[in-house]
Each structure stands twice: as C-alpha cells, then as structure tokens.
C-alpha cells in the first residue's frame, strides 16, 4: 500500500490501454459483422425479417450498455455458461455496437437515391448484384464519416467493461489507484490516454465529413 507512481504502474496502465484498443477492435469487427446483417435485415423484402431486426435494434438501443454487460456476464453464468470477462464483454459490446452500426448503415443504404435501384433493376441486375455493385459502393461513402465517429463512442464505452472485471484501461487505473490512493493523478492520466485514442478519430471523422459534404446520418447518443 502507498508508495509512488513508478514505471511498473505505467506499464500496467499501458497493458490496460492495449486491452482497450483490443476490446474496441473486437467490438468493431464483431459489431460490424452483425450490424451489417442487421442493416440488410432492416431492408429485407420479408416483413417478418424487417420486424425482427427492428425489434432487436429498439431493444438494444433502449437498454443501457452497463445493463447489457451485467446480463452478458451474470446472465450467461446463471444459465450455466461460465464465461470469462473478455468473452462476456466482447459478446455484450458486439450486440450493442451491432444495433447502432446496423441503423447507421441501414440509413446509408437507404439514402442512396431510389432511381439508382431502378436503373440497376432496369439493366436486369439481380438483387445481390444491385446491392454489391451499385448500392453498397455509394452507401459506404455515405456511411464512412458516421461510422468513424461511432468508433469514438465504442472506445469510450469499453471502459464500462471494467464492471465485469475485465482489465482494460479504466479497470487497470482502478487497480493502480487501489494501491496508490492518488485518484486525481491516475484518472487524469487515464483521461489523457482515452483522449489520445479518440481525438485523432474525431478529427478524421470531421475531415471525412467535410470532404464528402453530404450523407450525414443522425447518431443517437450512446
């Protein structure tokens, strides 16, 4: 107990920061994959698929991430699945991110003007070909700025994974503080590290938006 902040503490925080990056990437890749499926399901020609995916999005967007994390960790344990904090946090973040990215991407796909669909149909392209060759390339341009912007939210939200005992940046800060009792210094360091991760992405997102000058999609606050 007590003592001063030393290199070992900083290395420990560095490890935590790496796990924050790691967890963010897992959330982005997992959430992106599921989110893409959600986006397609939301515009499916089948009504049941549209309704089911819309219900999923509403359910997740109306639930705090903190609650989803607890449900992931303790809920799975309650039904007999003992999962590690990493698995629980990854699964919860994937579900959470998928709901938001799914909506961002659905909006992007739907903001490609309808005549583009018709022109592609008129050329006898199949639904898959229309999607892959005509609509998605245009939707990706529209989706890029809000997607990059949402990545900032993901990075910050991984801090909540500390509640299930996953040692990322926030949790490693808490652990260091438990031995040093210098909360202001330690949480200031952590804030700076989060900022250093998020700010470049924010700048990048703003630049993308300026360059494209269109296709803003409203982001629900996370």
């Amino acid at each position: 107990m007590g003592g001063h902040l030393n290199i070992n503490h900083l290395i420990f925080l560095g490890h935590g920061a790496l796990w924050t990056v790691g967890l963010s990437l897992i959330a982005l890749i997992g959430g992106g994959t599921v989110g893409f499926a959600i986006a397609l399901a939301r515009i499916s020609p089948l009504k049941s698929v549209r309704l089911a995916s819309a219900a999923y999005v509403q359910l997740v967007q109306g639930t705090p991430l903190l609650v989803i994390l607890f449900l992931g960790y303790f809920g799975l344990a309650a039904i007999g699945l003992q999962v590690s904090p990493l698995v629980a946090a990854s699964a919860s973040l994937t579900l959470y991110v998928a709901a938001y990215l799914g909506e961002i991407w659905r909006g992007s796909i739907q903001s490609v003007p309808k005549p583009q669909w018709e022109a592609a149909e008129g050329l006898a392209l199949s639904r898959t070909q229309r999607m892959l060759k005509v609509i998605l390339p245009q939707a990706i341009r529209i989706a890029t700025p809000p997607t990059v912007g949402f990545m900032v939210q993901i990075i910050k939200n991984t801090s909540l994974a500390s509640v299930v005992g996953f040692v990322e940046l926030m949790r490693s800060g808490q652990i260091v503080n438990n031995s040093l009792f210098e909360p202001f210094v330690i949480y200031a360091i952590i804030a700076v590290v989060y900022f250093a991760m998020c700010y470049p992405l924010s700048l990048f997102s703003q630049r993308l938006e300026r360059r494209m000058g269109r296709g803003r999609v409203n982001l629900a606050p996370a």
């Binding site: 018709e118 050329l123 006898a124 245009q138």
Partner: protein, 251 residues
C-alpha cells in the same frame, strides 16, 4: 412463355388497370407496338402516360388487364423479371448513371454481370455504343464530369449495350436545357432510323411529330385518341386539340 413471332407486336397492353390508392391512374389502357415502330405517348401531367410506360418494364404492377412484352406476360406475378429486363431497355428523365463508376464501367457492368460477357469484349462494346451516341472521348470520365445532355446520351448507350429488343424513354429530355435537348433527340432519331423499336413518353411535340410512327394521346387514365403523327395537326377530340394548342409548353 409464348413464342414471339414476327407478326405479333413487341409490346401490347390490353385493358390495363392501375390505381394508386383511391386514384385510378390507368383506366383500361390498350395499345400495341410493332417491331421497328416508334410510339410516342403524350398527354398532360397526371394523365397516366409515365405509369403506362413503367408498367411495360414492370416498375409498376398492374391491377388488371394484360401486358405482353417480347413474349413475357408482364401482368403475371411469375414473370421472369430479369429475362424481361434483358429484352427491354429503359432510359429515365434523371439519367440515373451510377456516380461511383466511369462511363465505361457504367456501360460494361450489366453485360458482364448479367450476360457474363468477357471484360475485353464488354469494353469493345462500350466503345461501340458510345460512338453511337457520339461520346467516345468520355469513356473514362465520371458522370459528374459530363453535362446533362452527355449524361443522358451515356445512359442511352448503357441501355443499348444490353442489346434490348425495345427501348422505353421516360421524358428523357425534360430535365435538360433546350440546347442540350437537341443532342439527345438526335441520338434517338438515329436509333429510330436504325430500326429500334421504341416507346417514348415525351413533351416534345415537334419531335414526336417528326419521329413517331404512331401517337397515343392519354387523358385521365385512358387512351383518348391515337393514330399516325398527323393526328397532332388535325386532332379529332377537343382535348387533344386543346393539348396541342399548348403543346409546346412543358406541362
């Protein structure tokens, strides 16, 4: 699918009905287009002329009646849409080129994806159809780098590359300045001279008169008067007489 013999019309509509909600847009529309024929559909805004055209390519489903296009029963729910649309080319008022692709890629996309044409052959074809519309030098340009008239000509070339049996033109010059209209009309004129079967919805009365073999005048969802281009100079119904009286204005 029925066999399409040369005596049968390429496009025929019989007693076609179509409503949008309570609004009856097509109220028993019938007409036919023979091979090599140019049919112009004219009429006021809201007369159902664009809807009639879109029904031919099944962009609108009809509520009743029969539509036969190149042997496809278009009114039936089980019509093979991709086969139909390989036989029918459509050009829209707003060009609808794909903005993320060059003109060449716009043109080669469908032949490569739908007809499985080899890339080299498709590029050859792109050059050929662009030459047809006088835009060879724009092969590698993007749509946004072209004027409206050039974009519309490129859209016509894209349609031609699928070698359709009939082409539909939906007010293709309505978004263009008068001076750009001319270059697009010249391309369509050349297509007509080459024997392409065409159905066009147009506001250009002078053009319709000079190019169309037959005119269909639509009024309140019905074919109100139809016949050779001469009906424009000597209309028999008061509605057409009044329409051609104001016909040079875009409605």
């Amino acid at each position: 699918m029925q066999q399409n013999t040369s005596s049968e019309p390429i496009v025929s509509l019989r007693d076609v009905q179509k409503s949008f909600g309570p609004l009856k847009v097509l109220d028993g529309v019938s007409f036919a287009v023979d091979r090599g024929e140019v049919l112009a559909i004219i009429g006021r805004s809201g007369s159902g002329k664009s809807t009639a055209l879109r029904c031919i390519d099944r962009f609108e489903k009809v509520d009743g009646g029969e539509i036969m296009v190149c042997g496809h029963r278009v009114d039936r729910p089980d019509v093979d849409l991709r086969a139909l649309r390989q036989d029918v080319g459509i050009v829209f008022q707003s060009y609808n080129l794909f903005p993320h692709l060059t003109i060449e890629q716009n043109i080669t996309l469908a032949p490569c994806a739908v007809k499985k044409m080899a890339t080299g052959q498709a590029k050859e074809l792109a050059r050929k159809v662009l030459a047809q519309v006088g835009l060879e030098e724009k092969l590698h340009a993007y749509p946004e780098q072209l004027s409206g008239g050039q974009q519309q000509r490129a859209a016509i070339a894209r349609s031609l590359a699928m070698q359709p049996k009939v082409m539909l033109f939906d007010e293709v010059t309505s978004a263009l300045d008068p001076e750009l209209t001319g270059e697009v009309l010249k391309v369509i004129e050349q297509l007509a001279a080459d024997g392409m079967t065409m159905v066009m919805v147009t506001h250009e009365m002078g053009f319709a008169k000079s190019i169309a073999d037959r005119i269909v005048f639509m009024h309140r969802g019905k074919v109100h008067e139809s016949g050779p281009a001469s009906i424009l100079t000597s209309p028999t119904t008061p509605e057409l007489r009044q329409f051609v009286g104001t016909g040079n204005l875009k409605s």
